[in-house]
Subunit: 190 residues, 4 copies
C-alpha cells in the first residue's frame, strides 16, 4: 500500500510538469507569460509534497491495514489525482474565479479524505497506538478545511485573496510536523 | 513482480488524468461540459482501484511464481493498460454505442485475464494453499464476465443501460472482498 | 537499482498508451483505422514485457553491483525509452520503410545494451556465479541481433517482411526462458 | 523516501520521451529534423542518470532522515522536475540563447539543491559518518556550479559554447564517482 501510494503521488507530482507547455518563442517574455502556470505548479508541488510527507509519516506509524483502509487510501489518492487538472485550469486562466474555487474544493475534499483515512487507520491500530497519540489534538488538521472553505468563498470576491489563503495553508504545513516525528524519534531511512 | 504491477497500475490510474483536458473558458458550465469525461474517469478509477486491491490481496497470499505467472500477470496488465484509452473514447463521446461496447470488451478481457492469472498462481501454489482456500467458490468472479457481456449487448440498445451495468459490477466489487482477508486475518502494512 | 529499473520499464510500457490517440468518430471503422497503431502497441508491449521479465530474472541472480553496472543499466534503459517513440512513428505511418528500420535499430541497440549489461554483471559476480552458469551458451541472445539486422534490411524491401521478423523474434523470446529459472529453482515472490 | 525519489526520477527520465514528438513524414530527413530535440534528450537523460546514480549512492550511506531532509529532498526533486520542460524548450528552439540559459539555471539550482540535501543528511548522520568521510573535499561538486554559471553566461554569446560546457560537466560526472563506492566497498544489489 505504501509503495503504491508513493508511486501514485510521485506520478501526480511529475505529471503536472506536462502541463507546463513549452513557450512559443525563445525570449524571456515568452517565459514570463507562463508565470501563472508556473506559480500554480509550485503551489501544487508543495501541496503534493506535504501530502506525501504526512502520508509517509502516518504509514510509518501504521503496522496493520484493513480493506476499509485500502479504500480510504484510494479515496484520498482520487482527490489528489485531480490536483494536476485543477492546477492546469487555474494556471492557464490566471487564477480566474471558478478555477480558483474548484482548486480549493479539491484541496478541501483531499483534506477530508486524509482525515477519513487517518480515522480508519486509528480504528484498526487502536486508540493507544503510536499514531493515535502522535496525532493528538491536531490543530492544523482542523483549521485547514476551514481555511480552504474561506479560500473558496474569496474566489468569487477577489482571486488574489483566494490564492493568498491557499498559499498560507501550504506555508502552515511546510513548518515540519514534529508531532509524529517526536513520538517516533529519529526514524530509519526507509 | 508485485512492485512492477503496483507501478503499472499506479501509472495507469494517474495517466487517465491526462485525458481530463483542461476546459476552455472559466465558467462552471465549461466544467460541467466535461461531466461525461469526468464520470468515465471516476468509474475507471474505481475499476483500477478494485483491480489493484484484489491483485494486492492475491499476491499477499502468493509466495512462489513461475515464468507462466509472470506472463499471465503481464497479460492482465495489458488489458488494464487499455482502460485509459477506452475511458477517454467513451467519455469524449458521451457514452456512444461503440465506445461503450469497447469499454465493456476491455473489462471482460481483463476479468478473463485475472481469472487466468489466479489459476496460474494456484497451480504453482497448490490446491491446499491459502489462496486456493480463500478464493473458494468465487461467485463474484463468475458473475462479472456474464454481466460485462450483458453490458456490451446493451450498448447497442441503450447506452445508459450499458453504463448502469458497468457501474453495478463496480459497486458489487466495492463491497470489500472479505474472503481472502478473513482467511489471512489482519495483514501487515506491506 | 531493481526498483528504479522496474519503475522505468513500468512507465515506458504505460506511456505508450498515450500514443493510442482517441479515434475521431464513434464507429467501429474509426477504431479499425487505428489498427496499425494498436498492432505496434501490442508488439512493443510484448518486447518491453520480455525485457522486464529477463531483466527481472537476471537481477534475481545478481547480488553485487558496481558503478559500471549502474551505467550499463541506464544505457539499456535509454534504448528502451526510445521504444514508445519509434512505436508511435511506425504505427502512425503503417509500418513505412524508414520508421520500420528505425524500430529495428532501436531493438538492435537494446539487445546490444542488454548483452553489455549482463557482461558487466557477470564480471562483478564472477564466472562461477549462478548467473554465468545459467546463461550458458545463450543461443537466443546471439541470434536476436542477427535477426534484427535482417529485419532492418528487409524494411527497405518490404515492410511486412520486416515486421514479420520482429514478430518472430518476440515469439522466440515469449517461449519462457527456462535456463535461469531452472538453475535457480522456484523463486520467491519478490 | 528512497522509493519515492527513485520513482520521481524514473518518471522524469521517461516523461521526457513524450517531448520527442513523432516526426511528420517517414523519411530519414524527417528524423534528422528532430536531431536537436534528440540531442537535448540524450543530454538530459545523462544528467538525470547522474543524479539518480549519485542520489542512490548517497542514500546507501544514509540510515537516518529528518523532516528537514525530506523537504531538502523534495526541493531537489522540484528542480529536477523542471528538466523535461527546459529540455523540450531548448531542443525545439535549437539551443537558442534564452532557453539555453534557462537550462543552465535549472542545472545550477539542482546542483545547489543537491548540496543542501547532502549537508542536511550529513548534519543528521554526523561528521564521522560514512557519508561525511566518503564525500571528502568534493572537487567536482564545487566546480560544477561554477561551470554552470559560465555556461549560462556563454548562452548570450554563443549557444554552442554554452552547450559545450553543459556536455563537459556531464562527461566529468560520467566518470564514475569512486569516492563513496570505495569507502563502502562492493555494495549489495538493493
Amino acid at each position: 500500500m505504501e509503495a503504491f501510494s508513493d508511486g501514485v503521488i510521485a506520478i501526480l507530482i511529475t505529471v503536472m510538469v506536462l502541463d507546463l507547455r513549452i513557450p512559443h518563442g525563445t525570449t524571456w517574455s515568452a517565459l514570463t507569460d507562463s508565470a501563472p502556470v508556473f506559480l500554480s505548479y509550485v503551489l501544487s508541488f508543495v501541496y503534493l509534497g506535504i501530502y506525501w510527507n504526512n502520508h509517509h509519516h502516518m504509514l510509518m506509524a501504521t503496522d496493520r491495514v484493513s480493506g476499509l483502509v485500502l479504500w480510504a487510501n484510494l479515496h484520498l489518492l482520487f482527490w489528489l489525482s485531480l490536483i494536476p487538472f485543477t492546477t492546469g485550469w487555474m494556471g492557464e486562466n490566471e487564477f480566474a474565479a471558478t478555477p480558483a474555487a474548484v482548486y480549493g474544493i479539491v484541496l478541501l475534499a483531499a483534506a477530508v479524505a486524509y482525515f477519513v483515512l487517518r480515522s480508519a487507520i486509528i480504528r484498526v491500530q487502536g486508540n493507544r497506538s503510536t499514531l493515535a497519540i502522535a496525532v493528538g489534538r491536531d490543530l492544523k488538521g482542523k483549521i485547514s478545511p476551514v481555511l480552504y472553505a474561506i479560500g473558496i468563498g474569496f474566489a468569487a470576491v477577489n482571486r488574489w485573496l483566494s490564492l493568498a489563503v491557499y498559499v498560507a495553508v501550504a506555508l502552515m504545513w511546510l513548518v515540519p510536523d514534529r508531532r509524529v516525528e517526536r513520538t517516533l524519534g529519529a526514524f530509519s531511512r526507509r
